[in-house]
């Protein structure tokens, strides 16, 4: 992890990641709206569904290991 951001580069990234966060928050809100039969699953439902499977669980742990190494060691 070496890049240090300045000026407009940072603005581009912040805009993209803000949009991603806003979309995720919108999905979560839509999942919790009552009385909508076709609503998307919430993040909690996705986690319950997929982390119950050993392969997805192992993938999540591998991603966690990589994140720690990448963020705090390199």
């Amino acid at each position: 992890m070496t890049a240090v951001l300045v000026g407009s580069d940072k603005a581009i990234g912040l805009t993209f990641w803000s949009l991603v966060l806003a979309t995720l928050a919108g999905l979560e809100l839509a999942a919790h709206r009552p009385g909508r039969p076709g609503r998307p699953p919430s993040f909690g439902q996705l986690v319950s569904r997929y982390l119950a499977h050993p392969a997805w669980r192992a993938l999540a742990v591998v991603l966690w290991l990589y994140a720690g190494w990448h963020l705090f060691s390199h």
Partner: protein, 145 residues
Amino acid sequence: MHPAGASPPAARHSLVARVALAATATAVLAGVGTAIAATRTFTWPAEVLTGGVEIAVALAAALGAVAHRRRHDPTRRTALDGRSLVVWSAVVALVVAWELSALFGGVRHLHPTLSSLVDTAFRVDAAKAAGAALWLALGSWLALR
């Protein structure tokens, strides 16, 4: 006999145990977070500390996986509508495409990755300590759930 309104000893002990567990977990998270924040990337203390935490959590996850396998019941999985997953999948695909284009396309200066932004935030020690504590909490949750 216990006086009216008083908790039975077993309930009190259970509450004390929970409070002690929460306090211990908070102290460990804060301690590890602070220690990681005190190290600098690309140094051996950072490698040893992060690696030690990762080995401990990976071992706990492996032991948890063995226990999970014993009690795993595929019929209890939550049923989800496949079509409703499209939007979640699209967001994940967009993020992966962004990260890969920055990694392999050489345009990281134009399209900063999530870790580049986090790196900027982690220049503040308190933010790095909070990030490390959050990371450890997530790993512990994954290992123990």
